[in-house]
């Protein structure tokens, strides 16, 4: 197996890495770049804990090969807060009490960001569909949906 060279921009910093083709974007984020916000829950596209934005769209980082992330712009949960201030979506999750153990939350927040970037005024049904691939085993979904509604409101006033 020959190593490959890839270049990707993560949270506005560009990295060029020599890596192996059998690694995923999730491996690179967590192991090479130390960005452990995105979680490995299932490695099969089912749980959404590894959700990040790639070229502006939410994807499961566990299903993206290193070579497929080459040349892409990636945004992770670590890129959201600016100068010590939580992003409005993060703040809304805190305020709504939508976080228990937190394992699913980076994925939930990034999937919510993908929704709100494209649809600033989502209906509840839109939120449910946007989060259909994000599983939470402890908080339950009611407060998570409320958090996204609160974040949408806050972002509209910004």
């Amino acid at each position: 197996m020959k190593p490959i060279e890839i270049t990707l921009t993560v949270n506005e910093t560009t990295h060029t890495l020599i890596t192996l083709p059998n690694r995923t974007l999730l491996d690179i984020l967590r192991e090479d770049l130390g960005l452990t916000g995105a979680k490995n829950g299932c490695e099969s596209g089912e749980c959404g804990a590894c959700t990040v934005l790639m070229n502006g769209a939410a994807v499961n980082a566990c299903l993206v090969l290193a070579g497929q992330a080459d040349g892409c712009t990636v945004e992770t949960i670590e890129g959201l807060s600016k100068s010590g201030q939580l992003h409005p979506i993060q703040q809304a999750f805190v305020d709504a009490g939508a976080v228990q153990c937190g394992f699913c939350i980076p994925g939930m927040v990034m999937a919510s960001k993908a929704l709100l970037d494209h649809n600033p005024q989502p209906q509840e049904e839109d939120i449910r569909q946007a989060l259909a691939g994000n599983i939470c085993r402890c908080t339950g979904y009611t407060k998570i949906i409320q958090a996204v509604q609160m974040a949408a409101e806050e972002l509209r006033h910004d």
Partner: protein
């Protein structure tokens, strides 16, 4: 993940070359391949990543001919305005594939090459009489979708061949069409049963050009020609729908599996296909009204 050799061709000719090598396995969006590689169920010696072959991307419409490149994602299909207006069964199928993250990566070519009896793109493409274009270093050939799908996980793809695109004639405005699926939940669900239907209304209000395809109820997605014949030329009525549902139960050959029983599938397929026909019909009626206004 196990080790493998990796090629990422940028153009069709490089792809044809790469696939000449023995044991080459294609990966596109990876939503089927990667989960299987993570568990070790799939261990390719050579992975050919086609995701950068730009010629395989995009939806092109010339006059009434639609051509969808194999790499086109369900997110792109779902968002396409012309398809939404004229081929809504395909849009409806695309918008319920997996979750948003799945649809962002999952490609049409991967969905067809998988040859799952439950693949969501197949019932709509069957009622639109789609053809698949297969290409290799030796050239290209086109096959009707029904001849491409040979059984669960089995296709007409030969060594060195890949799916280049899918083509179909954009349906006329007065052909209504719809897709429905049943699963344990509405989002993120593999179909227990799926159905697509198309129909047109004659000026006398009779059913014409009836097309019905049912998924997850036979070794491949199938058209139901006897049901189509039974409905052709008839005036819609409750009794007619009931006999159509019964005829569908006869035409399919479902199995018992982890998702549902054979008996459930027989009942559900009839009901679901009739609902798809009724949705297609109400769309055809709207088109007919729009014409008379």
């Amino acid at each position: 993940m196990q080790t493998f050799n990796y090629l990422r061709p940028a153009h069709l000719d490089e792809l044809c070359q790469a696939l000449q090598q023995p044991h080459a396995k294609i990966v596109a969006g990876g939503t089927d391949v990667l989960p299987q590689m993570h568990t070790g169920r799939l261990q390719p010696a050579l992975l050919v990543d086609i995701s950068r072959v730009s010629e395989l991307e995009g939806i092109r419409i010339h006059n009434t001919q639609v051509e969808i490149g194999a790499l086109t994602t369900f997110a792109a299909i779902q968002a396409h305005p012309t398809l939404r207006a004229a081929a809504p069964a395909l849009t409806q199928a695309a918008q319920w594939v997996g979750a948003p993250m799945t649809r962002q990566r999952a490609t049409l070519g991967g969905n067809l090459a998988n040859a799952s009896p439950a693949a969501d793109a197949v019932p709509p493409l069957m009622i639109y009489n789609a053809e698949v274009t297969l290409t290799s270093a030796k050239g290209s050939r086109s096959l009707p979708l029904a001849q491409f799908l040979l059984g669960p996980g089995q296709t007409a793809l030969q060594r060195g061949e890949f799916i280049q695109s899918v083509r179909f004639e954009l349906p006329a405005e007065d052909l209504g069409s719809a897709f429905l699926k049943i699963g344990p939940r509405r989002g993120m669900t593999i179909a227990i049963v799926s159905a697509a239907a198309a129909v047109r209304l004659s000026p006398e209000g009779r059913l014409e050009q009836v097309r019905v395809a049912v998924g997850a109820s036979a070794p491949t997605v199938i058209r139901c020609p006897q049901t189509e014949n039974l409905l052709h030329g008839q005036l819609p009525s409750a009794e007619l729908w009931q006999s159509a549902a019964q005829q569908i139960a006869v035409e399919i050959s479902p199995i018992d599996d982890v998702r549902a029983s054979r008996a459930y599938r027989r009942r559900a397929a009839g009901v679901l296909a009739v609902r798809a026909l009724q949705a297609a019909l109400s769309q055809a009626q709207e088109a007919a009204q729009a014409r008379t206004v």
